[in-house]
Subunit: 205 residues, 3 copies
Amino acid sequence: MLLDVLNYAGIVVFAASGATVGVRKDFDLWGIVTVGVLTGVGGGILRDVLLGLTPPASVQNWTPVLVALLASLLAFFFHPAFSQLRRTILVLDAFGMGLFATTGAVIALDVHASPFAATLVGLLTAIGGGILRDVLANDVPLLLQPADLYAVPAALGATVVAVGSTNTDVPHWVWLIVGSVLATGLRLAGLAFKWRLPTAPRRRS
Amino acid sequence: MLLDVLNYAGIVVFAASGATVGVRKDFDLWGIVTVGVLTGVGGGILRDVLLGLTPPASVQNWTPVLVALLASLLAFFFHPAFSQLRRTILVLDAFGMGLFATTGAVIALDVHASPFAATLVGLLTAIGGGILRDVLANDVPLLLQPADLYAVPAALGATVVAVGSTNTDVPHWVWLIVGSVLATGLRLAGLAFKWRLPTAPRRRS
Amino acid sequence: MLLDVLNYAGIVVFAASGATVGVRKDFDLWGIVTVGVLTGVGGGILRDVLLGLTPPASVQNWTPVLVALLASLLAFFFHPAFSQLRRTILVLDAFGMGLFATTGAVIALDVHASPFAATLVGLLTAIGGGILRDVLANDVPLLLQPADLYAVPAALGATVVAVGSTNTDVPHWVWLIVGSVLATGLRLAGLAFKWRLPTAPRRRS
């Protein structure tokens, strides 16, 4: 139940982030909705294909696509002023990443994946939609851009859920919330405080 | 039978569109053939992976790859003059989109997917090959470019087939033809008459 | 056994090639490691999804990701001087391509794919990781760039393994080595001697 709510919340924010990228790139209405819907359901489709759950839940049922469609339309009509588009995308993306990292891990555990596999599936669910969005928009994925913590918070959130759920008696839903808050919070903190990581030492010859 | 013919026709035109993009981007012979073949069979591979049909038909049998290869070679040798490459790509792509939307939906129904899932699989089959082509060529996918109807005709063609086949006694092949003609026709009409959709209202701050 | 060694060798060199692309693009540490790991395990994940082996080996076990992580870190700290980054990427990529073409074909044969399917799966395994790397870095894939032999050596290596293993009594491991040496050698020779293939004849109108 909570799993469903968080999964749909992830679809909503990722779809909105995708639609906002479409607005920023001057796509038309259908382009915006298309990139929004694909971003919203892309991570979940990747997750289900990796776990052998075919057809993926987002293909089999109509609710995920409908939810992503509505979120994209909302973003189309009520997106922020142009100057704030990039910040809006980053924040929505941070929430989607945190939600998909933990729900992806729980869904993997539900089909008896190992804790390691659950962590990795959570991580790939979290980054899959965003990568698809940025590749479609012909950008370098946020995930790879310098000076941002991205994969680390996602991996941490998924690890907390996978390890916590398999090694403790604390119910799944507690780990879902702790992991999501941790992943999204760490990402947002990294953005807010401009935590920077080293780029490779240059050796110009 | 008709399903096979239309599926191969889709492979041919998508492969030719991919090879023509390669010509336009000045790839060499092998690059052109590679992007042609991947475009031709990419949508079908995505379809089969989503439906859990592994290995995908285009991997298991040699005919789809051979057909895509020949179509790419034909495009390499007989592509139009440079100034008409873009128009040629758009027209070939419109035919491939219409054919894959409907054949994808029928193949999904054949493995007992729901009408909604069949529609979505048809849509993803139709757009998958073209997205792969444009991402490989480092372009923003045609699908997302402003002022073109793309996803809507594909969704419409797939919907006609999925709804028609499950709710009427009219044979599948009629819906296959109606859906393909509708999807391709609507796309071509949109291109010809420059039907335009709104981009997002700008609120510069 | 040899299969495992060659598969891990492929992961190492592809991961290092991905990390080196990240260095060249000025990604930060995590971006570099992320693109390195995804490049290292991407081809194998595609292979397993195409063969219906879910969850993929690189998701189910922790060794492939760990190996790719270490290789990426090594590339981060010990990458060559800036002016030689591109050459390093090309050489690493050539080895990864040769190793994945042959191991991919053998793994496909192990699950009773036809020789044709094994060839194609080997080819897709070989090019999948590199395509993912270049798409993430927002480059046109090496595979498609003019004047390089790429898909042909990969297809040749996979064909040698698939045809040899199914039609002769010579043990698999011989074909693995012959195919890898052939594919990587042909690619490196093509780069070294600047073998060129025709681009499409231009007909400017």
